[in-house]
Amino acid sequence: MRGIFIILLIFLAGCEQPGVIFHETRNPDALSEWGLMQIKQGELQLDLEVTPYSLNSPLFSDYTHKLRTVWMPAGKSAIANEDGSIHFPQGTIFSKTFFYPIQGGRFIKTTDLGTWFRPALGPGGGLDLSESHLLETRLLVKRSGGWYALPYLWNETQTEAHLEVTGAILPVTLQNPRVTADLTFNYIVPDRNQCAGCHATEYATRAIKLIGPTTQNLDLEFTYRGVSTNQLDHWQASGLLKMTSPPAREAMFDWRNKGLSFTRRARSYLHINCAHCHSKTGPADTSGLYLDLATENSVHLGICKLPIAAGQGTGGHRYSIRPGHPDESILVYRMKSLDLGAMMPEFGRATVHQEGVALVSHWIASLRGSCDRTATPM
């Protein structure tokens, strides 16, 4: 009886909805083979089984907008841990589609203070391609051997994205409505190893992990198909997520939330933009600089900390963070830099995130204390 029901379902799905297909071993050349999304009637439309979501504090990626989705096999749920991390079941597929808003055929630079980074999905749930240009869609797929990263590059005609394991260099010009000068740069689509460069957050295992989806970062209102709900509530109600304890009901993680202290906002920003490498277990543990929210030691957080192997990255400055002096702090210098040997993050941006620099600068300006206590041992 159950068998017949499933066959019937598959048959019905074949008529209208192709449905999501999880590929355990094969890496399809076309993104459409995953069934997560399709181009239809001038829109990027998500499969009905796919859940779009947003994050309180996203990673900065050259002012791109990002449409994030998650899909889990029927009957499976993710489990949230007390620290906010989430364990996702095998078969889970995350997608992140990078796009720029367009106007008159030109890419537009938008500020991300506001609601810009919440994907502008229409009431029908689709992304209008007359207003958006798709660059790439990155998949993180949880196979039996763990998470697997697959970068797909959209074609110029916006009809399909193809697997491009070596990534790509896309020359981009952003029109900045507020400023006369355009912003021209090379947008970099990562190769598969570079995906792991950020997502292998524990260097000892080198296993790929998720960065964005934690309960803290998912705890926000999201509107989809005309319904606005808190994402954690929605994920629980729909069976996607099981929680062992209730989440904190504060947007403690949104660096754009002006109701929070500079410290909280800056630490949240640094956490999501830096801590995948700069933690006690990350690839940048070589520097002794840990920028995750859990770090309490002020030196490891960068305050009066000496650089180790910063090279040109010091910018001539002595400390990662000099309290009260953002312009004499290596951290700010490297966020502002576009020099490949100095800039931070090392990868994933080719422009300066002005709003992020401003926030971290404000925070450092608000810090008290001095690094200049002379140590005289004799």
């Binding site: 543990d285 070589t286 000496l306 090279g311």
Partner: protein
């Protein structure tokens, strides 16, 4: 005592570039199809690295290959082989993305016989890995010393069982060969030129540095410890090296540890313990052949975070080295003034200079006990010039008696790497 081998000839600045140009020209003439852009060879190599499986040997043919993005390898047990450090050249002069030329995060990695040129950041970085072999690799910034050159040439960090040999590193704005936070390391038979630091061993436990030629750097060979890191270094042996005329003006970026190294430094020990320097030939290093200092006397002196860090160099052994010239024109105003005041125009600085910082908790009669001392023996002069930095250079003095001691020789590093 005086070694007459003509180092200046083999290490003259123009030589290498000329040789490369000649070879490149020959190549172009011989096989004009070799010149390649990122689109074909670059992508092909990238795919090979992405799809590599343990045991793979990735061969890169003779030719000059341009890359716009970093290369990376994350698979254990892979060997990368070029056709020679003057024949297979990976050029990053037009790099658009990535903080290094090649980034390796893998165990059992071997790379041989190729050159990595003109990267925007580091040339070859190996971050966390066991059993690493770097052999006959050249990393070079072809424009010569420049503050804007990448920081490190050959750069293993947090590695174990690492061999770097017969390689060449030129023009790094920090260190040509930099080994950081590693265990069990051999650096031998390399040539390092025109870097701020020729070879730097930092926060590393167990390093043998021998048979290298370090010349025309700001500082030849450095053995350093830096605070706030997981591993505090010790047990380095620096021996049978040629440390010659490391007098290039310091072009390090201010703020880096090496930016404080005076030009004309042969071997520098900073805050490291159990270091043995012996059987080296040191010539014409204008500040001094050997400098021993504490974190307190670097440009990092003023800090509050050293509480868990031992900034005092202890149990240092210096013996059987040969010296020629040097110490005649120290860099930095305060060292120049010190030399003038104590030794006048005619005489040079002694071979060994020490800043004089000692741990007050371990001092006996204001001196280090014999087991922690700087011991000097079988040398032309067995005295150490203590510049008395702790007291603002009030009483700089030649000290002899306390350094007439011997430490047990340090054990040789043995690598657990099969193919050595």
């Amino acid at each position: 005592m005086i070694d007459t081998k003509p180092f200046y000839q083999i290490s003259s600045p123009g030589f290498f570039t000329q040789a490369c140009l000649t070879i490149a020209t020959l190549l172009l003439v011989a096989c004009s199809g070799q010149e390649s852009s990122e689109s074909d060879m670059g992508k092909q190599l990238q795919i090979q690295l992405l799809n590599a499986k343990p045991g793979d040997v990735i061969k890169i043919p003779e030719g000059r290959f341009e890359f716009q993005r970093s290369l990376s390898l994350r698979v254990d047990g892979v060997t990368i082989q070029g056709a020679g450090m003057d024949k297979t050249i990976l050029s990053f002069a037009n790099q658009l993305s990535g903080a290094e030329g090649m980034l390796v995060t893998a165990n059992d990695f071997t790379i041989e016989d190729l050159a990595i040129e003109d990267t925007k950041g580091d040339a070859l970085k190996i971050n966390e890995g066991k059993n690493i072999i770097v052999r006959r690799i050249r990393t070079e910034w072809t424009n010569g010393p420049d503050t804007n050159n990448g920081a490190y040439g050959i750069y293993p960090v947090q590695t174990e069982n690492t061999l770097i040999e017969e390689s060449v590193a030129i023009g790094a704005s920090d260190a040509g060969i930099y080994v950081g936070q590693s265990r069990n390391v051999i650096v031998r038979n390399n040539r390092v030129e025109f870097n701020v630091a020729g070879i730097e061993i930092e926060n590393t436990v167990g390093a043998d540095v021998y048979n290298n030629l370090a010349t025309n750097n700001t500082g030849g060979i450095l053995v350093f410890n830096m605070p706030d890191l997981a591993l505090e270094g010790m047990r380095s042996r620096v021996f049978r090296n040629q440390v010659v005329a490391n007098n290039t003006a310091n072009f390090g970026k201010p703020g880096t540890a090496v930016a404080g190294v005076p030009a004309g430094s042969g071997v520098v020990i900073n805050s490291n313990d159990l270091v043995e320097i012996f059987d080296n030939d040191m010539k014409h290093n204008k500040t001094a052949h050997i400098l021993i200092s504490s974190l307190y006397s670097t440009n990092y002196s003023d800090r509050e975070s050293v509480s868990n860090f031992d900034p005092f160099p202890e149990t240092i052994s210096i013996h059987d080295n040969r010296y020629e010239g040097g110490g005649d024109r120290p860099d930095t105003e305060y060292l120049a003034a010190l030399k003038q005041a104590v030794f006048g125009d005619e005489k040079s600085f002694p071979n060994i200079i020490w800043d004089g910082f000692i741990n007050p908790e371990k001092a006996v009669d204001n001196m280090l006990p014999p087991e922690l001392q700087i011991c000097v023996y079988n040398e032309v002069a067995t005295s150490v010039f203590n510049i008395d930095a702790p007291n603002g250079f009030a009483n700089p003095r030649l000290e002899t008696d306390q350094h007439q001691c011997r430490h047990a020789p340090l054990p040789a590093v043995e690598l657990a790497t099969a193919s050595i």
